[in-house]
Symmetry: D2
Subunit: 359 residues, 4 copies
């Protein structure tokens, strides 16, 4: 667990009880993917308003096997293998009641202070936030349902329709998964954009129809917005997008990408901001307005994202295990965090096996 | 007519013929409102990509009486008094065919180079772009259907629902008309925001439930974004908006207002950018994203805006003639432009009477 | 309470405990409106799949005062006067999680077998299903929030927009409340339709712009569908609806009204079925299809309906107490049911006062 | 051409001129599919309000090569091979202007009285209603863009989303094409329903995941609605649809299918009526209402349907030429109509080659 800034430790704990004896389940954790946000807490102790003030367990991308169920649980039973959705909302606020539980301010979200994450032997959670995975899906794939569900939500926010042309900024894990989800939804052309040739190459092999390698260097004296506009327009021209992309999915949070994205979209198009970077960016508001774009932020998941992600993996439409570049045993968790922290170009997804059941 | 930069003149012209002898109508112009964009061409010769290269007639907010109709025209007849929608789209591009004619690149828009505007004795236009006004509506009100239709479109883009709490940045003509349209659509609380006390006072008298006077001075060393955030949060707190405004309509184009607007909106809320100001602004993209806002640009009008604007005026729900602060005869048109150019705080709407029919 | 078919009795019960000691509240019931469904259970013992097999307490349209709150309740406190939403859903199924809790199969709905209703001294319920009413709203109005919320939901399902022309079949309580909600949402023309002149007259006085009295007698040998079509077309012609109504709200469940409604709607229009009558009706499917209508069923309420109904009453936009034709003391409840059962033309809303607190 | 009821003839005509010398094109027709509606006019002389009063040319599913273009035409040039959309709307009514041109009452629709169809050597039409097809698409496929576009519109009306479970009633041409469009849009399970084993078999081979053969015989004394309900529920149970189908596409117009469809849909689901049969059917209105279904009619096409249909064929996602069971030369057109009229189980699509260019 994360004791304090940059200090991790292991701890023996009693087997946790179900907080809600009727509706909770206890899961034996089998695999856990590591995400940038885990490393963020490890290194900086905060993300936005969430601040680490006492030790917490990290990890929120996990799969496992049900070992205990509450008295009223019907959707899963002991022995079922499941993917775990890491945030359980309050179910009572207007956001929850109207179907936007991703906006609930009282969500208990794994590994978001002060809530413990899933890098434990056991994790207890509400039964409707675990989702059975079929026998032919590995536990690694089960853990990677989480980032696939993030991509499903991004594409849901974007209201994708079959036959659209889609530009995805970013060929990291979320970017390439968005590209794959978009292809599975019948997109006719999906363009991945990245500054890294190796990531772009991976994206092309994974799901994208085409990739654009965005050389970020400005010419001397070049206005950054003019450069971004040129990138956006070049993507439209190079890939025959006509009036522009129907949908832009921005998965980097990088200012030049956000800017270029506006100029890559067609009039009346959709722009979804999913990546998180600088708090504030210089934004081409007049261009966005004249183009009558719809811009939306995507955050977490909503009802149906996890089942849809499980389905896409189970049907072979998306193969997220191709993203795994590093595997660690539970005892080597700190090494795993170190790898993610270094963020080398060829690191995509790092995964940590759970504590074996017999220990 | 506008001969060239800052030079206007009068000109005798032959009575224009219907370009489409089947479907056009000719209107004798009776009243024309002056808009900032007219003055913009007069003073600077361009707006965005539209550049003045040869003389054009200004004016695009007009009413008049039908004096000639094409052979197939059925919706109006000679003698009908009408409001004129100034932009006629191509009807053939995908935008036109799918109901987004405001995005048509081939629109013939009055007083947008190279197309002549309505400050003439006669104006010819497609019959489906004139809308009858009832006998009890004045020609001045007929001319002001245009800015009301702009407000109707903004509120349509915002997908207003009855019972919402709405913050409108700007208490100029478009701002106060948006406030009135929102009230007519059943909004429970409409807050107008402006830096001018007299404009705010007008807004309160016109339609807003409450107004907020935004003192734009930054404290020494204060971060502009922090100041904007404080303004947004103060509006929410002062007017009991709870989680924030359901809808923010930004009608100023001013950077601090755009920024404050993001912080005035509730999570999952709607933000419509209608004002045009700086091309690029510093934008709180992370806040917009975490709040899962939907941001949309509003531009011109769409089908139904003009009839709805006529209805709102005809039913007395909106009284746009209250906005008129200055009236000029046709021969004094240049003075009218001068008044608009000076843009004094107490100038709202300037209107120019048409050439009398007997002249 | 309803002991069995057509048998009611009074019963002394212990003060009920909060089922959820953290999140429930206990309400002292002050007023309860009687609805056709209560009488239905009383007389026939079933509605659809809901069958009376053991005694239940009737009543589900109630207001009262909070007398006890769970340990985590924050939205209300003891002494608050509230309207009670009668159905609390499971919060865990996909319908609940996606914002359609009105479709939850596990809803605990007051007075729907086997759940007790609100015609008791005290009723306990989840705290987020009670809604504070302001001091100037009477307890009778608080009880009538329920039918207003039904009308709000119907209009929400219909996706009302300001400026629409709306035909409402039925001038009973739900019909006239829909008419009032539509007017408050900025409808330009609301036409009420009923077979009863006195009801139609009430509708005109209450909120409708116009009413149509539908004489249901068929001419000898007339095809019922042709008669219905004629009624629909006559409504369009008589009230100048042009292409037809933008929205038809069917609040009767009567076959001829459903049929006429299809012909009263414009192409591309909206038809909401809210009334419940015969299970199956002869339906003009080809006309509905060629007109490209959208038909939707409305059932119960969704998030926001109760607060919106409270607001409409509190702001004086709707005055539901005008609907009350009969008032009874708690001890005379059976008489109240008898009045509702007789369903005379001039009976609109019957209301029963609660057990006084000192008893 | 169709001279009068059941009488067809051939006629020599002058090469037609462009009606709009600026915007029309002339197409040399190469292939034309025959549709039930053509035969309907041939045999009965009317469909609904469209009545044959003078001779018309039949045919509306055609492809060909551009042989003449108007002076302003830019989207195609002489020599381009195109699919022809058969209905050109007025472009001026509110339906056209708001993107619902399929509802335009003044549409000039090929082979709908009094307008001539495409079974001619040349057909002139507005340039934005022809769509280029790539070199690798055959002219037969070009003609079959029409029924594919019908299916695209049905699926667009249904607002398909990836991952949905879809039941399609009918395995005729439109039914199987809907099944294919739904699969291309990422549907997880598409169930085709038909009474014919051979059609069902074709559907399974073509695109459906599963098929259900609906034996239409009622048990003695069985209520038809109960039988329909049983069919709907059996489809849900047999194919593991859980709560029911997300979307039902009704492509038969047959009363028992419409009825069964309501019971096959999940609560909150979508039901699109696309087939045309009896004017009026017995409809389970209460079930539809309690399930809170959305029912919509689909009619003709809208902007984007033709390009999307061309794309689906060009990318090999749909292979409509598999539907062709009979091919005829132009001179044998009457035999083609005869085959369609007989409507044998194994007849899917009948196609007629155009008049050769050298004749």
């Amino acid at each position: 667990m994360l004791q304090s800034l940059q200090k991790v430790s292991f701890e023996d704990r009693a087997v946790p009880k179900l907080r809600d004896a009727e509706n909770d389940v206890r899961v034996h954790i089998e695999q856990t993917g590591i995400c940038g946000s885990d490393v963020h807490y490890w290194q900086r102790g905060r993300i936005g308003d969430f601040i680490l003030t006492s030790p917490i367990v990290l990890g929120h991308e996990s799969s496992g096997t049900i070992v205990e169920v509450g008295t009223k649980v019907r959707n899963v039973k002991v022995g079922d293998r499941v993917a775990i959705e890491p945030g359980v909302p309050c179910r009572r606020c207007d956001y929850c009641r109207s179907g936007s539980y991703n906006l609930c301010a009282d969500t208990v979200f794994a590994a978001t202070p002060p809530h413990d994450g899933t890098l434990q032997k056991y994790y207890t959670v509400a039964s409707d936030y675990v989702y059975p995975i079929p026998a032919h899906m590995s536990s690694e794939e089960g853990a990677l349902v989480e980032p696939v569900a993030v991509a499903v939500q991004i594409c849901k926010v974007a209201e994708l329709k079959a036959g659209q042309k889609i530009v995805v900024f970013g060929c990291g894990p979320i970017g390439v998964l968005c590209q794959a989800v978009a292809k599975a939804a019948g997109a006719t052309k999906v363009i991945g954009v990245d500054i890294s040739e190796s990531r772009a190459q991976f994206a092309r092999d994974f799901a994208a129809d085409e990739v654009y390698i965005n050389k970020p260097r400005l010419a001397q004296g070049q206005d950054p917005m003019e450069a971004a506009r040129a990138v956006g327009e070049r993507i439209v021209a190079d890939f025959g997008l006509g009036e522009g992309a129907d949908v832009v999915l921005e998965c980097t949070g990088a200012e030049p990408c956000i800017q270029a994205g506006v100029f890559a979209a067609r009039k009346g198009g959709m722009f979804v901001q999913a990546g998180m970077g600088k708090e504030n960016v210089v934004f081409p508001i007049t261009a966005a307005c004249i183009r009558a774009l719809t811009l939306k932020g995507s955050i977490r998941y909503s009802t149906g994202c996890y089942p849809e992600a499980v389905r896409l993996i189970a049907e072979g439409k998306i193969q997220p295990s191709k993203l795994i570049t590093h595997r660690f045993e539970f005892g080597d968790a700190e090494k795993a965090f170190e790898v993610v922290k270094q963020a080398q170009e060829n690191t995509l997804k790092v995964i940590i096996a759970g504590v074996k059941n017999e220990t």
